[in-house]
Structures are given as C-alpha cells and as structure tokens.
Symmetry: C3
Subunit: 678 residues, 3 copies
Amino acid sequence: MINTKLPKLWYGGDYNPEQWDEEIWKEDDRLFKLAGIDVATVNVFSWALNQPNEDTYHFAWLDETIDRLYRNGVYVCLATSTGAHPAWMARKYPDILRVDYEGRKRKFGGRHNSCPNSPTYRKYAKRMAGRLAERYKDHPAVLIWHVSNEYGGYCYCDNCAAAFRAWLREQYGSLDALNKAWNTRFWSHHFYDWEDIVVPNALSEEWGGSRTNFQGISLDYRRFQSDSLLECYKLERDELKRFTPDIPVTTNLMGFYPELDYFKWAKEMDVVSWDNYPSLETPFSQTAMTHALMRGLKNGQPFMLMEQTPSVQNWQPYNSAKRPGVMRLWSYQAVAHGADTVMFFQLRRSIGACEKYHGAVIEHVGHEHTRVFRECAELGKELQLLGDRLLDARSDAKVAIIFDWENRWGIELSSGPSVALNYVEEVHKYYDALHRLHIQTDMIGVEEHLERYEVVIAPVMYMVKPGFAERVEVFVSRGGTFVTTFFSGIVNEHDLVTLGGYPGKLRKVTGIWAEEIDALFPDRHNQMVMRSPRGHLEGSYNCGILCDVIHAEGAEVVAEYGSDYYRGMPSLTVNRFGKGKAWYVASSPEARFLQDLMRTICDEHGIEAVLNAPCGVETVRRVKDGQEVTFVLNHTAESAAVPLGDAVYIDLLTGREQQVTCEVPAHGVRILQKLSVH
Amino acid sequence: MINTKLPKLWYGGDYNPEQWDEEIWKEDDRLFKLAGIDVATVNVFSWALNQPNEDTYHFAWLDETIDRLYRNGVYVCLATSTGAHPAWMARKYPDILRVDYEGRKRKFGGRHNSCPNSPTYRKYAKRMAGRLAERYKDHPAVLIWHVSNEYGGYCYCDNCAAAFRAWLREQYGSLDALNKAWNTRFWSHHFYDWEDIVVPNALSEEWGGSRTNFQGISLDYRRFQSDSLLECYKLERDELKRFTPDIPVTTNLMGFYPELDYFKWAKEMDVVSWDNYPSLETPFSQTAMTHALMRGLKNGQPFMLMEQTPSVQNWQPYNSAKRPGVMRLWSYQAVAHGADTVMFFQLRRSIGACEKYHGAVIEHVGHEHTRVFRECAELGKELQLLGDRLLDARSDAKVAIIFDWENRWGIELSSGPSVALNYVEEVHKYYDALHRLHIQTDMIGVEEHLERYEVVIAPVMYMVKPGFAERVEVFVSRGGTFVTTFFSGIVNEHDLVTLGGYPGKLRKVTGIWAEEIDALFPDRHNQMVMRSPRGHLEGSYNCGILCDVIHAEGAEVVAEYGSDYYRGMPSLTVNRFGKGKAWYVASSPEARFLQDLMRTICDEHGIEAVLNAPCGVETVRRVKDGQEVTFVLNHTAESAAVPLGDAVYIDLLTGREQQVTCEVPAHGVRILQKLSVH
Amino acid sequence: MINTKLPKLWYGGDYNPEQWDEEIWKEDDRLFKLAGIDVATVNVFSWALNQPNEDTYHFAWLDETIDRLYRNGVYVCLATSTGAHPAWMARKYPDILRVDYEGRKRKFGGRHNSCPNSPTYRKYAKRMAGRLAERYKDHPAVLIWHVSNEYGGYCYCDNCAAAFRAWLREQYGSLDALNKAWNTRFWSHHFYDWEDIVVPNALSEEWGGSRTNFQGISLDYRRFQSDSLLECYKLERDELKRFTPDIPVTTNLMGFYPELDYFKWAKEMDVVSWDNYPSLETPFSQTAMTHALMRGLKNGQPFMLMEQTPSVQNWQPYNSAKRPGVMRLWSYQAVAHGADTVMFFQLRRSIGACEKYHGAVIEHVGHEHTRVFRECAELGKELQLLGDRLLDARSDAKVAIIFDWENRWGIELSSGPSVALNYVEEVHKYYDALHRLHIQTDMIGVEEHLERYEVVIAPVMYMVKPGFAERVEVFVSRGGTFVTTFFSGIVNEHDLVTLGGYPGKLRKVTGIWAEEIDALFPDRHNQMVMRSPRGHLEGSYNCGILCDVIHAEGAEVVAEYGSDYYRGMPSLTVNRFGKGKAWYVASSPEARFLQDLMRTICDEHGIEAVLNAPCGVETVRRVKDGQEVTFVLNHTAESAAVPLGDAVYIDLLTGREQQVTCEVPAHGVRILQKLSVH
C-alpha cells in the first residue's frame, strides 16, 4: 500500500489553488466532496511564488491550502515545485538556463527548463526540498512526495560538458578505454586529452536529434543526461528522506518517454507514478503495454496513475473529447494493469496560458452540471465502494516482453540499415498479438530475473549487454521459450559490433547465423512461408522492413522466405536448447503471423487467455492474496457478450453475480471476482 | 480624391531608373506615354544611393528623375527609401540589424531588415524623410508620400526587449496587473522585476512561429512589434507633414498580412494602399475579400492598388503568366471594390537579383511589341476614358463581416483545441458564401459602428474585447441580425478565459451555453440536421473541425447534430433579442450550408443580389453621389450572359446601352451605369 | 595508364588497419590474396593517429602497413589523412572549425570539418602532405596519392569572409564593377567599402540553402568556396609533387555533387577518381550519366572508381543489399564507361561508429564464406584475367551533352519561374533518351571543344558565358546539330539578364524569340503537337514545368502547343544555320518525345546504336588502339538476347565466340571484342 493513511484507490489530481481566490476555494471544497475526491497534488509549479528571491520563502498559502484540503477530507500529494525555476533566478544565475541541441543558450521561459548540472539549480532545488520536508513533515495530510515534475529534456551547456567529462572518467577510467569503446580511430577521432571531448549535438557530432556520426559518444551522452537528471531527483529525495524517512517519494514518469532510462530511475523511487495521455486514435493495446511497462519498472509493484485528463487535452493536434464512459473505462484499464490511484490533471481548469484548453474535473463554467463532472463524480463513488479490495494486487503473467532504453537508443542512433525500423513499434507488435489473444503479459527490463516466466520475448534485441545472453541460455535450458528477432545480438553495451557472426552472443541459443541484413523499401514485402503447418502457423505471411538472411546452424527451419534472392532460406527458426526452445523471427511480420506464433507458443506452455472475449474487449487479471480479480473492458461502441466458462463471478461494481456470459455495455467495465466453478 | 492634381484613376507603378542609364530613360519616356502611364512610384529602395555615409546626401539623380517624368506627363508617388538600409550603416551601427526569431543577430542583407527600435534606424529614417520633404515639398509632380515599403517582420534584439518592457509598463502600470493578465502563477512565471521579462521567441517561450507557452506575453509582443513599426512610420510621416501638411501620406500594406494590426495602422494613414499578388489558384472571392478588408480599414474610404504584376511573379512556387485579359480583369476587380488607382510593380524589369523574373510593363526584350505591353496600353486608354467618374465612389453594403487581428493572434497562439482551425479561412467561408450570392459585403474592424449594417457576421469571435458584446446587444436589440460561431466569446483581450460558460460575454445575446468543444480529426465529420426547413435551409449538411456541444438557453434550435455522442443536441440556433436575432453556428459547415443560411438571412432583411449573375461572374457596386455603378467581372474562360432585370444601363467602357441581358466575354468586364428602369 | 607499376584494372579499396590488431592483419593478408586484391587505399582518416600534437608525428604503423601490404602483393593508394582534423587541433586552434550556413561556430566532430581558409588547417595539412611525401617517396608500393577525402561543404566564418573579399577584389578589380555585376542598386545594396560585404548565408542574404535575395553574391560565394577547397587541394598536391613529381595525384569526387565545380578541379588532378553509391532505385542510366560526366571532366581520360560498396550502404534511408551479380554488373558498368579501377569502400567492416553497417569485402563475421566475399573473389579473378586489355580505352561518342556547374548554381539560385525545375533532372532526361537508344554519349563541360561531336545538346542552358554562343555558331555552321531548350540564354556569367529578348546570345543560332515563360502547376500539362510527321516524331506529346511562349524568327516550326492561350504557337523549332541545325525545345517534354527526337537527329547524322539491345540491357563501347570493345550489361532480373548483327565477337571474360545473338544472363555481363564481320 502506498500509504496506509488512505487505504483505497486514491482519487483526485493536480490542483493549483494559487491561481485562484478564496471564493473559488470554497467552491472547490464543495465540488471535491461532490466528486468523491480524496487526494490533491499541490505545489507543482509554485517555485516563483514560494521563493521571491535568494533568501525569502513564503509558504503561508501552502499551509492554508493543505490545512483547508485536509479539513475537507482531501489528502495531499505534495510536490516540491522544482519543475520550473523562477524568472529572477534565471536572470541572476544564467547557469540555470539550458543550452539546447542547436547549441543556443536559452532564456527564461517554459518549464522543465533547468540545466541538471547547474550549481544554482542543484543548490536551490535541494534547499527547497529540505524546507518543504521540514515544514510539512508532521502534517497528517501528506501522503507522498512528488519531486519536481515530468523530468526530461537534455542540456548541452559548458557545465554539462565538464560534468560529462567527469562522468566519462568515472565510467572508463582511462582515455585508452574510452577511445576503444568509441572506436575513435574511425574518422580521426582519437582523444589525447579529456578536455578535447565536446558534447554531441547539432554543432558537433549529431543532427536531426537522433542522427550521429559516433554512436559511442551519443549513447553515453544519453546515459549521462538521464543520470544527471536522476542526480537532481536523488538530491531532493535524500533531502526529503532526511526529514520524512517514512513518507514515500515519487516523481511522475511518462511511459515510453525516450530520453530517460526509467528502469534505472525506478530503483530510486518508492513507487512509480506516471501520466497517461492517449489520443482518440491511440490503440488501447498501446496504452495497456505502457501500463505494463510502468508496472514492470519495479518488478510488478502497483503504480500510481498520476495524471490523465477527464475530457480533452490541449497539446495534441486534434483534441477530441473523451466519449461518454471512456474516462471511466480508461481509469479502470489503468487499475486493471496495476494502478492503485486514479488521478487527473487537473481538478480545475486554468484561465490563462497554454493549458487552459486542457480538460479538468471542474470546467470553466465552474459548476457541477457538466457531463464531465458527472462522470467524475460517479467514478468517485465507485472507487469509494471498491475500498482497498484491489490495492497491492499483482499480475500473474507467464509471458514477458523485454524492453530496454539503452537498446532503444542504440537502434535509434544507428546509421542504417533502415529508417523504417522503430523499436517501440516492433515491441508493440508482439504485445498487441498477445493482447488480442487475452494473454496476460508483463513488460520487463533486461536485467530482470527471467525465471518467473515461461515465455520471454526480446524483439530487436540489438544490444546485448554483459550477462544477458548467459541468463537467456540458463532460462531456455531449464525449459523456457525465448523469442528474438532480426537485428538482434549485433552490438555490446558500447554499440561495438560483436564479431564472428550475427546474432553475436545470441547465436548459440538461437542456433542460427545471420549472414546479411537486407532493408526493404516501404512498398516492398517478402513472405514467411511455412515449410509445414505448425500449431496455428500455416501457409504464408507477409513480412518486411528488414530481412535477415540466415543460416540454420542447429536450429530447425520452420518457415522460409518466399521471394527475392534469399527465397527458400530460413525466415523462422526454432532451436531446442536444453529443455527449452529459442525462436528466431528473421523479419518483421504482419500481425496475423504474430498472433499465430504466440498462440502456438502459449499452447505449448498451456498458457491460457484470461477470458475468451471478443475483439475490442480487453481482459486483464490482478491477483491479491491468491484471489483473482478479472477486469473486462469494452473498448467498442457496441455492447459485448463475454463467455465466462464454468466459473461464477461477482461484479465488484454492481455486486451482481455473473455466469456463463457477461454482458458489457459499450465502453463499459466489469470487475469480476471468481466465486466458484459451477 | 487622393490628390486633385490628377483627378482620374491613377495608372503606373514602381519605377527604378537608378538601375538604368540615360538611353533606357529615353525609351521609358516613350513607352510610358504609349502605355498611358501617369504616375510612377520612385525612390523606394535608394537609401544607399541617396546617402553614402552619415553626412552626405545625393539627390541629383532623383531631381532629374522627377523632373524628367513630370516633363513627360508622369506624376510621382514619392517613396522615402527607408525600406532597406545601406550596407555601410549596418556595419557601422549594428543596432540597426535585427535579431531573428531564433535569437540570431542578423547581418546585412535583404530588405525590411531594420530593427524598429534601433536608435540608428529611427534617427536616419526620420532625417531622410525630412530631407526629402524639404527638397520636394514644392515640386508639382509629387502626388503622395510613400513611407518605407511593405513594413513587416519582427525583431527580438536587446533594444526591442528594453522597449518591450517600457511598453508593458505603459500598458499595465504595475507588475501585479501584468502578472494577473498573463496568469503567471501558471508554471512558476511570476515576475518580481520588469527586468526579468525576456522577449518571447524560440529561445524562451515560443516555437514554430506561433506556438507559445504563454499566450499573454506572445500576444503582447505582437501588439508591441506592430506598434514599434507603426512608430517608425509615424516618425517619418510627422516629418513629412512638417514640410508638406497637404500632401497625403501612405505606406503599402499587404492584405491579410499576419504580423501588423492594420486597423490600428490605417488610423495614421491618409489613404490606404496595398499590394495585390494572387496566384493562378487563389479563389477570386479571396481577392475580393482582401480588397474589401483594405477598404474597411478606413471605414470604406477608397484605397490605392499600389502594386500588382502585369504578368508573372517570381516568388511563388509556380509563377504562371496571367492569362490574356486577366490583368485587366483583376485591375477592374480592384476598382470595383474601392481602388482609385491601378499600379504595377514594376514598370521596367530589372536585370539582376531576385526580382528579375517578376513581370513588368516593359519586359527584358525592351520594346512595346509584347502581349503584356499591349494589354497595359489598352488598359491605360480605358482609364483615361473613365476619367474621374469612379473616384471616391463607395460601397453600399448592408452586410458586414468582422475581422480582427488580435482575435487572429489569439486563435493562432492558442494551444488547442485543433490545429485545423484557421481564422482567415473561416472568415473566408462566410465571405465566399455571400460573394457567390452576389451580396455586397463589407469587411469591418471590431471597433466599427455596426449601425450602418443590417447583418453583421463575426466568425470565430474567440476574443471579445471590452464593449464589443454590449455593442452587439444594442445592434441586435434594434433589429439587426448577428451571426457568430463555435469557439467564440472564449477570452478577453488578455487571452484570459471568461468564466461562467462559453460563449462568455456573447452568451446573453446568443441565448446558448457551449458546454464542450470537440475537435474532429481531419477525416471525420458530423452533420447539421435541420429540425424543419427554414428559408433556404433544409435537410442535412456536413460540418467539422470543431463542434461546440451546446445547450439552448432561450435560443431556438434550428438544426441539431446528426451523429456522435452529441447527436440531437443543437448545432444551429437563433435567439430573438429585442427586435433582432442572433445566430450561433456551432461547427464549421460545408459551403452549401453557408450559402443557404446567408440567403435565408438576407431574404429576411430584403437584401438583394447586385445582379443575378451566373457562377464565376462577380458583380460589385460602387455608389457616387447617389449614382450606382455596377461592375460585372467574368472570371471564367467562357463568355457569360448576365440578366439585368428591368433596368437599362450604359457600359462606361464602350458607351453602349445594355438591357435585359449583358454579354460578358471570357475574362471580360462591364462597368454599368444605370440609366433608367424600362 | 595511371601507374605502370600495376598494368591492369586495379582492384581493392579503402583499408583501415589502424582500427584492428595484428591477428586481424594476418587474416586480412590471407583474405586479400583470396579475393585477388592488389590495391589498398590507406591512411584516409589517420590524422589524429599520425599527429598527436603540433610537433610529433607517428608513422610507424603506416610504415608497417605499407610494407606488409607490399609483401603480400598489394600496392597502396596513399591518402594524406587531411579529410578530418584531430580533436586537439580543434580545441587549440578553433579557427580550423567551420561556421555553418546558420552562422553557428561548429565544435569538434564529424569529418570534412575544416575551414578551407583556416591558417591552421592550411599549415598543418600542407605539412602533413610534405611529411608523407618525403617519407614514402621511394616506396615501391605507392601507386598514387589520394589527397584528403571527398572535399565538400562550405564555411561562413570570418576568415572565409576576409578571403571572400580578397577573392572579389581579384575578380572585379573595383567596387564599381562588383556593384554593377551584382546589380546592387536593387534593394539599396550599393557597397562603398569592401568591408561592407558579408558572406551570404541564413543570417544575411540566403535561406533554405539555395534561396537568395542576390544571385550575384550567392553565385560568387559558391565559386569562391569551390576555389577555396581547391586551394587546399593544390597546396597538398604541390607539396607532394615537390617530392614525387612522377606519382599521380587525385582526390575522390562525388559525381554530380552540387557544391564544387569539378571541371575546374579536374584541371588540377592527374586522374579523376570518384565514389559511386547508387541506391536500389537509382535508374542505371543515371549512374551511366555520372560515369560519363566523370570521364568528361578530363576530356574522356579514363578515371578511377575509387569507392563503391560490395553490398550495402549505411547512410541511405533503406539500405538494401546489392542483389547477387549486381556488384559485378555495376563494377563493369563503371569500366564500360571509362573506369580503369574497381575499388571498394571498404575492405573490412569497422565495428564502431556510423559506418559499421556499410558493407565490406570482409564482413563482421570475419571469414570468406559469405556471398559477398565469394562475389568479390570471383570478380578479382576476372580482373586478373582481363589484365591491361581495357586500360586507357576511350569513348568514341559522336553525341555530347553539356553540363555546367555554374549554370546549375544559377538555376538553383533563381527566384522563379518554377521550383519544379531541376537542372540535373532535365539533363538526365536527354541522357536517358539516348541511353535507351544505345547511343554512345559524352558529358562535357561548357568550355569543351565541340568539334569532335556531330550532335551537341545543352538542356536549360540558362547561363551563357562569354564565347559560348560564338562557339556554338561555329559548330552549327560547320554542319553540327545543336539542341537547346526553354529557359536558355537568359543570363550572363554574373546572372545578369541579356537584354533584347530571350534566349539572348543563343537567339541568332536558334532563330527564335521567347516572349514569355509560363510556369505550369505540377498537375497541369500542355502538348507538343507535330505540324506534320518528321523522322520518328509524330502526333502529340505531353510537356510541362515551363513553357516558353516563342516566335519563330527564321526557324522552322516543327511542333506547336496544343492548348492554353499559346495554343498554335511554336513548341519545337529547328533553325538551319550554315551547314547545320539548331533545335529549340520550348518545354520539358515526356520521355517518348525525347527518344523520338534523338532518334530523328541521330538518323540524320547516321549515328547508330552500339547494339540494338532490348530494354534494360545497357551497351557501351570503349576503343583502344582502334580496337572496339563492347560491354553488354543486363540490368534486368531476366536473361536477355542481344542481336549482334553481322559481326563475330569474342567474350573477353569467357573466351567464347559470340555471333548472331548474345545471351546475357540476369544481371550478367559480356565484354565483346569484335573479331570480324561474317
């Protein structure tokens, strides 16, 4: 449980009373109660208000706010306000301003605007965290600390450059090691002095954001910047812990955000929290996968849904309203995948600046007679009803997909073989196939224990870091099924190619050699032709993007290419290795193939669907103290009938028994607890 | 009349004899006479020539030029030459160079290149205007002053930053007021010192030209830059007026140019002039609307067509030639909408630099035996024939559309709800509907008196400035019809939302409440379904971009949405208010709807078509001393027959009587003066 | 012969042993022998390795490399290593770093990164060339010097600005002449001091890379930067020649690379070499044309194919593998068009940085059992077989197409008439037509002697430099056929329009006057309608992009336009001039037209196809000592039968006789030497 003070699914969100006056606060109190809100995230962007100059701090408004909320039955998620620095600080201490990718010194503006290696930023951010912790350490309203906000963005200033060199020294020990890791004999890049190293951006080694001449330095800069921001987080966290060792600390993450290695971050967080902003056109399996990733960051521990909009966003190209029921549906989707909170950005809409068209529980009209408020209030009641029944429940998946930020960076920075290759999309193809089959699936990091799973999938495992291949071998030899794909096993952690034939360190377990990698133009395809039917796999499937031209070296050839000069050569192989199997999918196949492959593999392991729901209905299971709770989420605009098999369930939301078939209305939700098998 | 010295439609254009030698000048004299040219705009880009250093001025060439032209029967529109500074000035006084949106200090180059807050620029531009005024104040050739050229572009230098702070102090009085207006409690932006404010550009608050984190500062910066350039204009104008109080002063505007608030500018100009450069694919109603806007800048006062090309442009992607007759057709279109001059850029084509492929009366071949020259000469003759008959004639429109630059900035700077929303396009949809119905329509500013109209349309009146709603209420209560649309009444003049329900201050007159604003993806549509036929409105129409989800609160529901979750809710309402009506069009409808709506409303007011001309034929009316002149402009490549009803007309161009039906050749023009009703 | 030490088609490529250790070197030795490799390009990017600081030079590794290679039977193409400077040099002497088009000072990174006007660069590059020349001047392995690498890119720093001003003084003598040439009276640009001139880039006169306000300065800056890099080349070359006057010197060019005037460069090179990187989708006639251009740079002298990939590239969007046989096919295509070497980038694939996915003879797997290695080894054997039989053979084309870099710059910098106009594409349309007809065609510079040809084609000869028109007149009057097109003869070498009617100086020989130039929108077309059939021309053809509206003034009208206002006016004319003819193609026609026109013209001159091969099969002829060798290159994936007529040939690759018909397998090659006519 995140904090035992509030033993239920927390309900609330970001709240900025400092933008309003007393009269509005009274209305807030009334409306929060109407909506069943019990947690408010406060103080997110109040640094300038809290600290008008170097030595003055004003917290009276915050004292009053927290007291008022608490009196009204609302706890607080207390932010440290360091997500955007004050204007006066930027003018007096320009080191706090970032230098951007183009090498331009920025001026005051925006948010997430502080250089992570700025002495000024670190000094005042740390001090602010300390002041807040000291002041509110005993306040009964405080549930959790929320450090800064949506950390992100890179800086390329001279302070960062110096810190980068120090970081490199720490990593490599010697210039010799660095020169080797970066392969600097290429293009006359040998460094004789640490000072010769400059930051890689549009003025030096990179262009277009992710194009680079030297993958080594660019990869390390991503690691370094992720670490630099993490240092800022840790600085505040340590200061908070100094005063309040028992109050949990988090910062809100952003799903598949590309710039930070969240697996590394999650180690420093008591609980993961994240902001979920799908658009009307985001596939719901994409959202599901992202929840699974956030859950996977801390080995399956429940997370916080820190932000979602009750209605519309403002920063998307077309900010469509969430259709009736969809806010509730997506809230429960989060809970189904491991969220123990449902929180919004924002509780009341602001009247000025760029987020005024971002939806809120309380709209500009100011009263409760809106569709959005009514839906929020209804959900609030349901969550009160559910109480603590779902808290701390876990996934019981037997299938896991590996995701790794460093692998992602390696692929994105790669010059060749194809601009069409998108790591996250390839991962999603596998997740989506399992999701459509209603197979419970975890997203895990590359350092995770594989033993708890029966099937582990590592799509485009381009970068194989020390120990990974060995752990896969142990996993497979003990009976697990491992699936990997084209363009895997190519490089080590420095993006240096593993010599001796692709897929490098994965060659032994997969039993194949990839001689060539052919990139297909977007309008071209090859085929994966089954040599004979196998499980659900049969006939021919389209594939594209990249085609590894492989040779089986021990592995069985299950499918071959259907055309081009490598027609007849293997496109799908499986290698028996100890008691298990390792599959190699040599190209990027169509969705139908992946569903057939995943069904075949799951069948072999006896892994079953959560429920055999029709297309468009998602089914997810959480388990708490041995008790299974099954979420049935209808993402379609039509009602759906889901066969329940032999079991009898009770719907936790209605208290009604469900058996044989469960009817779920359009955009509706059922939360089924198994009673018995009849 | 602009200047009684030349009591006819002026005919001529930009002329740069300084680029040529004496022999060519003689040819110019001969050819101008052949073409019927009587006005030449001179000295537009001669600053470097006129002033080789701080203290030296050379005007001998200009003396000779003006004398020569005058001897040849050609008057001058005398420019002040400050549209581009000399290279020496840029090198010696770099403060004259702009800093661009990316924060980069520019170097010498281009034109329209001076920082409006540069002390150097202001000093020397003012002095140049004074020198010219003093020198030519008594020259009989001078018809009008032409200050600088096509003012535009913004600067972001330190001088501008300082001037911006001073401007803000002037506007707001106190930082408290500014902090409130900009809602700076959002994102920790509270300012404690005026010096903390930096200019909003790609280094601070904005990106992509019109994306911003803070609408308040970005909106004010547009106002400030528009004002800064206007200050430069006024500085020169005042200097000119000091010597020649009776010679009119203008500067050439550019239609819907986005960066300057031309309504504010027009107040400082004796006569509006503008440069008209449609492409082959510009709808002719777009050109018509722009003429109407230029006319509307000064309450319907006739304007100057300062520039158009006789044949091709050079800066468009595909610079197609104006087809035979089109130059004449578009010239008369300008006159029909209120132009009292027909002027070209340029009289003779230059041989070097970027405008050498811009068409001219005298082409590179140098003689008169070209299609272009022949057409120019024929038009010159016609204009001599027309004499002063059209001078000072006015529009008698009963319908007006409101256009407001600050509203435009507000919409463009808005983050959400949809990138598909384009204010000028929405305005054009309404203008186009009226234009196709041959309804005479004015374009007016938001501060205009509404009383002279019967129908006033304010599409996407997003920003409602103080007093506007009240003036609309008076207008409607007295019997007028007001039409407004979705996304109206949202904010005040600081882009702060008006609380209490959209459309804010327009809620009373429209009698509706807009609860939600839904943005549609580009490939999606909703429908406006008529509850019952009304006037010309019947059945169902497509709509899209944004759909306001509205409730009638007193207004009558005329049409409802046809699909999605707000199906059956109002999409078109009309509210009786006093003696008049206020319509609310809740989405952006297809063209057919707007024609049917406009016809319905005009019928109610008895507002009739100028003439019932077929599609592709434009009809426009000017009125002088009670005498109507009707322009019939055939924009098609086929001849057309226009029914004239009961009246008998005389065609001013041919002197021939026209009755029953008027035949207009392909790309042809008739200028009809009513003689009698038979 | 490039160097008599190795009297055969050289075979090898770029080799970077400094990236590897001794064990790998041994494998290299073994594998090079297996592959028949006899030349290695070394030391290309070793500056940092060779020179760790100002005064220290390390060449031991290079000594060993060259010795080892030579012992193993491999000669060296010895690079000077100045294509990328060391990091220490950039830090200590920042003048070596470029300022980019945006005006930003770059930091260390990439390659081709040195400012050509940097004193530091010039000093150390020259010294490096001298040290290398002195050290290896007597080494028997050295075949040729390879200066720097792929020169390119422009710099805009202050050193360049100063050098530009000096260059301008040299060119123009006086500011008066410069002001006139640049037409600076336009837009107030008159210069009174050389120091007032700033470099034209995104901060001053240009934007978007090729858009400019002043064509004059932009054109001169391209000339100046091309000259500046050429100065760097000459500095090294002269230093090399000081020690080794008899060893040839080259630098590798890049085909139609836009930034350097290769005709000027080739004059300074002993032999042209170039890097050929077509993609899977590059038309093979485009590659053929580029080979022809490289051959034409030095009047038909054979060139070096310095680089090509044996398999894949890394920097294209989709890096497809060369299909089986294609590497050999394209190698012989190069030889067919005049290459006397077949060389790869690279011999062994690197393991780190951006080119690790660029193909190589030795792949990452490290052994010889790959498709790529096998194909390389087979080609190596064939080239040994061919020995010196093809060395120094020449083209015997009677048709030439003119290409001119300054003309290209003029067209690209032009503001108007159409962004759709692409000079290289227009040239390729003509080359492609001839290529499909199997007509041997040369690509020549604008200063070339025309007398050796019967047909000379100058597509879009926009810029006519002094003497050119006169040379065309002589050529035609003596019986030659000259073909030119729309938008020709417009400007002189300063991009100043030639007054008196287009096509200016070509008006006399073409016998026409182009009154107007109409630009067509991309979806629009006109037609070239034959007045009566003529040769292979008949009926109607589509045309577009630009349509010159022309008048025949002596020329015969062969075709007229089919639509629009210039319907019936000439679209194709031919003018008899002395004993020859000059054609004017007034628009950009479809491919079918150009084939019919070229066939018609070639028939008139009795110019015949090399062989009447079917579509997709290329035929090219080289002649040595009067002996013809015909290359038959099948670019299709099907085998093809080529009729041989009466002659009997021997296939040099198989030694087999060929008569009547020659079968060529898919992607196959025949090299036929004529034995007799049967």
